[in-house]
């Protein structure tokens, strides 16, 4: 059996990895939805939000079908085995998919808070669209993006349903704080469950508190409603 420390450390590591995985595609999706109007944008927005409203086990099952031998990303289709299922990679994928909607929604608000006139000003000063994005949009939305990252990290820390379907609950291999707490409670190991509960509350509170602070300072920076 892994120690409490090992379980907590693995969970933090996987959640951090999931946040990192989500960052680039999440930013691209959020920017697209914040700035562009195109055919199918509402469908894309809804699809992005879907994991937030579906039962997490349903998302886990969908991913399981996707990575199964006969799935679209399975051994038969690709010609080689990605060795995702019931591995730490499955934990990261499940956490990423489940935290993506929260990241995109927060990042979209952050991008929408950037005055587009400041962006077009950059173009009139000779910057390309890409340079404007890096030198104007990203710095002005940086605190909002940091808050979005923390929020997705917090969501990944607490992920349970999709993870248990796609990665299982294998101690020392795919067990997270959430699944370990479930196992401890199921087996009547109340002292361990209580310890895990305490760690989850502390880590979760610190993360959400930091997210709140960043969100408020972001609004203040861009002159939003909280700017005194």
């Amino acid at each position: 059996m892994p120690s409490l420390f090992e379980t907590v450390f693995s969970t933090l590591l996987w959640a951090a990895l999931a946040s990192a995985v989500v960052f680039v595609p999440g930013c691209a999706l959020a920017y697209l939805l914040a700035r562009k109007r195109f055919w199918g944008c509402y469908a894309l927005s809804s699809l992005t939000t879907l994991p937030l409203v579906l039962p997490p086990t349903a998302v886990g099952y969908l991913l399981l079908r996707l990575f199964a031998s006969d799935g679209l990303l399975g051994k038969d289709a690709l010609g080689f085995d990605l060795e995702i299922l019931f591995s730490w990679k499955a934990v990261v994928i499940a956490c990423s998919v489940m935290s993506l909607p929260l990241f995109v929604r927060s990042a979209r608000v952050a991008f929408e808070g950037v005055d587009t006139r400041l962006e077009s000003m950059g173009k009139s000063l000779g910057l390309s669209s890409w340079q404007v994005f890096l030198r104007v949009t990203v710095p002005l939305s940086s605190r909002g993006l940091a808050a979005a990252t923390l929020l997705s990290f917090a969501r990944a820390l607490g992920e349970f349903g999709a993870t248990i379907v796609l990665a299982g609950n294998i101690p020392g291999r795919t067990q997270t704080m959430a699944t370990a707490l479930f196992s401890a409670q199921q087996s009547g190991n109340d002292p361990l469950a209580s310890k895990l509960l305490l760690v989850a509350v502390v880590v979760g509170f610190v993360t959400v508190y930091a997210t709140e602070r960043l969100s408020r300072s972001h609004l203040s920076k861009i002159g939003g409603p909280l700017d005194g």
Binding site: G122, L125, P139, K221
Partner: protein, 371 residues
């Protein structure tokens, strides 16, 4: 560059809700003013030239370059046009210091073959930005922000400067402090500029030519005085505060009264004006309203008014309920505009070619700016 006058060629159409813009205009001058009241389409025109309004149709050409030609499907993006746009609200980057803002577009300056450091140093010197450079923009006053925005445009290597209401967001006192900076920019950098304003005084002080827009159409263009005295424009201009500008030099100061030699006069014409906020010897701009000038047909005696200048009426135009006379003062390039009633024109037999004495009080003159 100094001898080649840039050519603006603009034909634009835009129909949006109740607003309609339909402009055809071409001109060659170094500094073009665009005058009009609020809602006349000035800012839309400027955004079209800057490439910031993609809903417009038409043609925009500048000095042989085609920036927009809707029929041919040609449209250069804002970053390709090389304009230095200074919007009314400055749009400084809140996450950067004044220095970083000024240098924000310096890559284009570098690409144009100029040395960033040289231009930056000159811009900082001309706009007196030295003390502001390391301040975050949140700690800059309105006038300081305007100067930083001007500096940023100049340091982006523009081939054309676009100034949108450069003084209107500032309070009256600050406004006239910024005007000399704009004049310095025009004279030192020799970059063609288009200045949009609803204030005739700014445009008279800055521009060689003025285009007047009204309800989305160009109604009059040409020399600023000719435009502002046009029947269709004068009432609009008068609502915005049309006044005669007097360029001169403070040659003497007694108590709180200055003697100002009008610099455009080859002969020594001088006027008495209230003391300006500058040293004796400084070049100044002062102003006087057309209805503050009296016209006499012989030299008046026993008047308290300190200024009596011999002049000649060049034309009288009848507006709706009043008339304006253009009066030539010996040696002055631009005529002075004087408002008259029909009664006084009849009684004094005023007409083009009649010699008159212009009379005005010292206190009718107000100081605009020291250059």
């Amino acid at each position: 560059m100094a001898d080649d006058l840039p050519r603006f060629d603009v034909q634009l159409r835009l129909i949006r809700d109740t607003f309609r813009l339909d402009i055809e205009y071409c001109s060659s001058c170094r500094s073009l003013g665009v005058f009009g009241v609020s809602g006349s389409g000035k800012t839309t025109l400027l955004e079209a030239i800057a490439g910031l309004n993609d809903r417009l149709e038409g043609v925009v050409r500048f000095s042989g370059q085609v920036w927009l030609d809707s029929d041919r499907g040609e449209c250069q993006s804002a970053e390709q046009r090389g304009v230095g746009y200074v919007p009314q609200d400055h749009r400084l980057y809140p996450h950067l210091s004044a220095r970083e803002n000024i240098l924000f577009g310096s890559k284009r300056l570098e690409d144009s073959g100029q040395t960033v450091e040289t231009v930056f140093t000159e811009v900082v010197s001309v706009l007196e930005l030295g003390e502001l450079l390391d301040r975050p923009v949140q700690r800059l006053s309105g006038g300081e922000r305007q100067r930083v925005a001007l500096g940023r445009a100049l340091c982006s290597g523009p081939q054309l400067l676009l100034l949108d209401e450069p003084l209107s967001s500032l309070d009256a006192e600050l406004r006239w402090k910024i005007l000399p900076f704009l004049i310095r920019i025009r004279d030192r950098f020799e970059i063609p500029m288009i200045v949009v304003s609803h204030n005739p005084i700014e445009l008279q002080a800055l521009c060689d030519e003025v285009l007047t827009l009204h309800k989305g159409r160009a109604i009059r263009s040409g020399d600023p005085i000719d435009v502002f005295t046009d029947k269709r424009v004068f009432n609009l201009a008068n609502e915005s505060g049309f006044e005669n500008l007097l360029f001169g030099k403070v040659v003497d100061r007694v108590g709180r009264v200055d003697t100002v030699a009008l610099s455009e006069s080859s002969e020594s014409v001088s006027i008495k004006a209230p003391s300006a906020d500058c040293d004796v010897g400084a070049e100044v701009i002062a102003k006087i309203a057309p209805n503050d000038i009296l016209v006499a047909i012989s030299e008046p005696k026993g008047l308290s008014a300190r200024n009596q200048i011999p002049a000649r009426i060049t034309c009288i135009q009848k507006l709706d309920h009043r008339s304006i006379a253009q009066v030539e003062v010996s040696g002055r390039k631009d005529p002075l505009i004087v408002e008259l009633t029909d009664d006084s024109i009849d009684e004094l037999s005023l007409a083009a070619g009649v010699g008159v004495i212009l009379v005005f009080k010292t206190t009718s003159i107000s100081f605009v700016a020291a250059l």
